[in-house]
């Protein structure tokens, strides 16, 4: 039974700015280096697993930031796997613009880059056809899947394509089903997930980003590796992410000192995990009105405990708002008004603003003194 060994990856985003690292510039730059190391690791995987087809479903690098040096690095990686055919479908972060390195760099001979015209490439030595389409602009608002329909039922049909939302090459599972492909490697969504399954056989999926790029991408990250055949696809998730991004809340109710808060913050994870991953921690809970933790002091205190931690103070002064709202006073009316607004708030941002106004107003009324 003919089958082909495939590695499906996407959304590497080399030269991603890592704004999540905030003012820690060196750490941001280090993360970019780590991203390259993750990519080199995936190539190593392709090599050791004797992958026949590497499907790269877009956003390999940041067109806005990548330079020739990075292209050299990428190309050297491809040269490590001369027996693997590499297929790239450019995405919205690395579109095939006229000044793209995809066009100007002399890529290794095992690399094929798809463009805004749908294309089919037949492997000479395998009964495999690879169909691909790539972004030619930063935004693409129409679907281009029609050109990727499998044409030869005798051959294994692979498709590689980026997109799936309104401004970025919209398509629906039904559009994918219409392709008649044996496997469709998707990119764009940074969380891995199946988009099309037929009789227990996964036909189309996002592989997710191999390395999380920020706090919007929690959990494990990796690539898909395995075989695709005419009847059966056996691909497994291979984790490649080095650092996770965890967004957690730390209830500091009742904390009375910096060390109280520190103890609760440290309890979020094991020391090894803390020193490896990135954490965004929101301090929550009701605190004594007037008690507040200076986040910069806390951050300094935690510097050796975490690889990276971003702190937010979402504690609220321990007011009995319901009681305050019943008060026949300007303050009572104020609380009543804002609680009503909060209940009707259209979104989280509005709710946060109202909460903050409430805290500020109560602080203003009581100057930290009233209960």
């Amino acid at each position: 039974v003919p089958e082909v060994k495939v590695l499906h990856m996407a959304d590497m985003h080399l030269e991603w700015p890592f704004a999540a690292m905030g003012a820690e510039g060196a750490k941001g730059r280090l993360r970019r280096e780590e991203l390259k190391a993750v990519f080199a690791g995936i190539i190593g995987l392709a090599l050791s697993e004797a992958v026949q087809v590497l499907l790269l479903a877009g956003d390999l690098f940041e067109h806005a930031h990548a330079g020739r040096g990075l292209m050299k690095f990428i190309d050297q990686q491809f040269q490590r796997i001369p027996r693997t055919r590499v297929f790239i479908s450019p995405g919205n972060h690395d579109p095939l613009l006229p000044n793209s390195y995809y066009l100007s760099y002399p890529w290794a001979s095992n690399v094929h880059i798809f463009g805004p015209e749908a294309e089919r490439v037949d492997l000479p030595d395998l009964p495999v056809s690879v169909y691909g389409w790539g972004f030619g602009a930063y935004e693409v608002r129409e679907c281009h899947l029609a050109g990727l329909r499998a044409q030869d039922p005798a051959r294994i049909s692979l498709a590689v394509v980026h997109g799936g939302d309104e401004a970025y090459h919209p398509f629906r599972p039904a559009d994918l089903a219409a392709l008649g492909a044996d496997y469709i490697a998707l990119g764009h969504i940074h969380k891995e997930g199946v988009l099309l399954e037929q009789g227990g056989r996964v036909i189309a999926r996002y592989s997710g980003s191999p390395e999380a790029l920020g706090f919007g991408e929690p959990g494990e990250h990796g690539v898909y590796l395995g075989t695709v055949g005419k009847q059966e696809n056996r691909l497994r998730f291979v984790p490649t992410g080095r650092r996770r991004y965890e967004t957690l809340t730390v209830d500091v109710t009742g904390a009375e000192s910096l060390e109280d808060v520190v103890a609760r913050v440290l309890a979020v994870d094991e020391p090894d995990a803390r020193r490896q991953h990135c954490y965004r921690l929101a301090l929550t809970g009701a605190v004594e009105p007037g008690f507040s933790v200076d986040l910069s002091v806390l951050a300094a205190r935690l510097a050796n405990e975490f690889y990276f931690v971003k702190l937010a103070d979402e504690t609220r002064p321990d007011y009995d708002l319901a009681a305050l709202a019943r008060e026949r006073s300007a303050r009572g009316l104020f609380v009543q008004r804002l609680l009503a607004q909060e209940a009707a708030a259209p979104d989280g941002a509005a709710r946060a603003r109202i909460r903050r106004a409430l805290t500020l107003g109560l602080e203003a009324f009581g100057r930290g003194g009233a209960r």
Binding site: E15, W16, P17, F18, A19, M21, G22, A23, G25, G28, R29, R32, E62, A64, H65, G67, R68, G69, P98, N99, S100, Y101, L103, S104, Y105, P106, E327, R328, S329, A330, R331, G332, L333, F334, R337, L338, A349, A352, R353, I354, R356, A357, L358, L360, G361, E363, A364, F365, G366, R367, G368, G369, A370
Partner: protein
């Protein structure tokens, strides 16, 4: 609250001065400059301190103004009773700016209660706010009436808000105004777009700069990408030209081979032609030589006639002429004929001899002897004649025989022929010379063995073709054209190579100094987050402020009717019922309704009346604010200055009545007021006396 003692340890003009107050109406009476206003300020300072609002290290001008005149310690104490539970308190305060301090004690037990009360942001102890139920602003707007009572009132809406709060929230020191001020300070802390040193302005500026830096970096990057693209394009064009050049070179090689082959063919043709010529010349030469030999032979046989012909013919002609003259008789002729016959025989013998190589002269001599013999035999005339003729005949025969000619004509024709043959021989010799010259001029190669037509050329062409790669191109073009094309392409190639190295150099240069746009982008995002943080905080502050302003406005609308009622009652008392109905609008403009008359703006009334109204407003506010709580002492500094006697009396009566419910402390320099107060049973403190009294202690 009832104030019992003011202890001015060192305050303005006072040093170690204590004032003892009673419940009810207390009047401080003294001339100007006696220190009445100082006492008023002392009270205010004891309760609230002299720090400016919201400022920790900034003091009101009072702080400097009441520094003790003697330069001694700047402090005082105040004792009061809370009438609700009868507890006595003592406040001690050091006023010295920068070292100012306040402590609160239980006046009976002496316990320090300072720690039980909150400090505000200025580190000011908020005991009065809690115990008296009024913050400084509210106190100064109501119970504490300075000399310029009207001017001292805060703006309408502000007062309304504050009053509303005070009214509704009882003992809590909640103040809409203070809250709004606090929020404004927070807004100021963040700053506006224009305040470059404040966080918001700073982040906006930094963001602006960062955007510009990023834009420049991105432009430089775009430029590099363009150059990279240009370089790639140039590389592609170069590859095309190289391919084209390779094809042209191949074609040229073929063309050159073909041309070489053609040259070889031509050379072979030429050689063939030369060889043919050579053959022809040699044949001509051989023919000429053969002809020459023939001629020589012919000439040989005619040489005698040619050499001696002329003499012989002349002699023969002479002989013939002599013979004709010696024409014989018949018979005589026989002799002649005999002689002739002899001569003929002799000649014949001579001819044979000549052929045999015998000497002709000998023969002729024999023939002559024979003729002589004949001559002798004919001795007679005739004989002589005959003898002569025979001699001639003999000579003639001898000559002819010698020349082997039949006749003189024969000799003559033979000479002519000889001449002809000689000319022919010369012609042939010239021709031969020409042939030999041409032969000498022929290329020596042609002289070698003939390899056969075009064989060498074909072999050489085959060798050339063996060196050429690929199939023969269709439609061979001449090498000259191809070479021109190659030159043209090589020119273009040189241009492209120059462009490529120029682009490479540019890319190298710009790459060295190219900023890290990813990092710039990260910094930009950080600044954007900072800006968003500022804006979110500003929005929250704005929402809090708006909400507070809104609810205080609503409270005012709720509160205004009650204020109007309370004020109407007070004003009716103060004005001896001339004015009863009063309206306070949201901007705190007072409108009075004179009994049975139209509504008037209070400011259109006389100064004294305006004062009355605003005193009424304060008193009404105080009533409402402290309604149901600990009453607060009323402290008035010369409030009736502008009043006529009638009004002053009315007002004093009102205060006397009010003093039944709350302590009233009124200072005045008018003996009229002091007298009125005494009539109402007030304690009148003569400030000058008190000074002495105190110094007596």
């Amino acid at each position: 609250v009832r104030i019992e003692r003011l202890i001015m340890t060192g305050f303005g003009r006072f040093r170690g001065r204590t004032l003892q107050l009673e419940p009810g109406l207390n009047v401080l009476y003294g001339p100007n400059e006696a220190g009445k206003s100082t006492v008023q300020r002392f009270l205010l300072g004891m309760l609230y301190g002299f720090k400016k609002r919201g400022q920790r290290r900034d003091y009101t001008e009072d702080a400097a103004r009441f520094r003790p005149w003697d330069g001694g310690e700047y402090r005082g104490a105040l004792e009061y009773v809370l009438e609700g539970d009868g507890r006595r308190f003592r406040v001690e305060r050091l006023f010295e700016p920068g070292r100012d301090e306040v402590r609160l004690y239980d006046a009976e037990a002496g316990t320090d209660l300072t720690g039980r009360y909150q400090l505000d942001r200025r580190k000011e102890l908020l005991f009065a706010e809690e115990q008296w139920g009024l913050d400084q602003e509210a106190f100064r707007s109501t119970a504490w009436v300075g000399q310029l009572g009207v001017a001292g009132l805060p703006a309408g809406a502000e007062l309304a808000g504050r009053v509303a709060n005070l009214q509704e929230s009882g003992a809590e020191e909640l103040s809409v105004q203070a809250a709004l001020r606090y929020l404004e300070e927070r807004v100021r802390d963040i700053g506006t777009e224009r305040a470059a040193v404040k966080p918001y302005g700073r982040v906006l500026r930094a963001l602006d700069e960062q955007r510009q830096v990023l834009r420049r970096a991105e432009a430089a990057r775009e430029q590099t990408l363009e150059w990279e693209a240009g370089l790639a394009e140039t590389g592609g064009a170069l590859a095309e030209i190289d391919a084209e050049l390779a094809e042209l070179s191949r074609r040229l090689a073929w063309a050159e081979a073909a041309e070489a082959a053609e040259r070889l063919e031509r050379a072979a043709d030429e050689a063939r032609r030369v060889r043919e010529r050579l053959g022809a010349l040699r044949e001509q030469e051989a023919r000429a030589l053969a002809e020459l030999a023939d001629l020589e032979r012919q000439l040989g046989s005619r040489r005698l006639a040619a050499e001696h012909g002329a003499d012989a013919v002349a002699r023969l002609d002479f002989i013939d002429a002599r013979l004709a003259a010696l024409l014989p008789a018949p018979g005589g002729g026989a002799l002649v004929w005999a002689a002739v016959a002899v001569l003929l025989i002799a000649a014949g013998a001579a001819a044979v001899a000549l052929g045999a190589g015998l000497p002709i002269a000998g023969l002729l001599a024999v023939a002559g002897l024979a003729c002589g013999a004949l001559f002798l035999s004919a001795r007679s005339g005739a004989a002589r004649l005959r003898r002569q003729r025979a001699g001639l005949e003999l000579e003639k025969a001898q000559i002819l025989g010698r020349l082997e000619a039949a006749s003189a004509g024969d000799i003559r024709s033979r000479a002519v022929r000889y001449e002809q043959l000689t000319a022919r021989r010369e012609g042939l010799q010239d021709r031969l010379q020409q042939i030999r010259a041409e032969l000498a001029g022929l290329p020596p190669a042609a002289v070698g063995p003939d390899p056969g037509p075009g064989a060498a050329a074909a072999a050489e062409l085959e060798a050339l073709r063996a060196q050429l790669s690929g199939a023969a191109p269709a439609g061979l073009r001449p090498g000259v054209e191809l070479r021109a094309d190659i030159r043209r392409l090589e020119g273009r190639r040189a241009g492209l190579q120059a462009r490529a190295s120029d682009l490479s150099a540019r890319i190298e240069t710009i790459l060295e100094g190219l900023p890290d746009t990813a990092d710039l982008r990260r910094e930009l995002v950080v600044l954007e987050e900072e800006k968003a943080g500022c804006e979110a905080e500003l929005a929250a502050l704005q929402l809090a402020r708006e909400t507070i302003a809104q609810v205080s406005g609503e409270l005012h609308r709720e509160f205004a009717p009650r204020l109007n009622r309370a004020m109407g009652a007070v004003v009716a008392e103060l004005t001896g019922r001339r004015y009863g109905a009063v309206r306070v609008d949201e901007s705190m403009t007072l409108r009075a309704l004179a009994a049975g008359e139209r509504t008037v703006d209070v400011f259109s009334l006389s100064g004294g009346t305006v004062d009355q109204f605003y005193l009424g407003l304060r008193l009404a506010l105080l009533q409402l604010v402290t309604d149901g709580q600990e009453p607060v002492p009323l402290i008035l500094d010369d409030p009736f200055m502008q009043y006529d006697d009638h009004r002053a009396e009315g007002a004093m009566r009102y205060l006397g009545a009010a003093a039944r419910g709350q302590q009233v402390i009124l200072s005045t320099c008018h003996s009229r007021d002091a007298r009125l107060a005494e009539q109402l049973g007030a304690r009148v403190i003569h400030l000058a006396d008190e000074v002495q009294e105190a110094s007596e202690h």
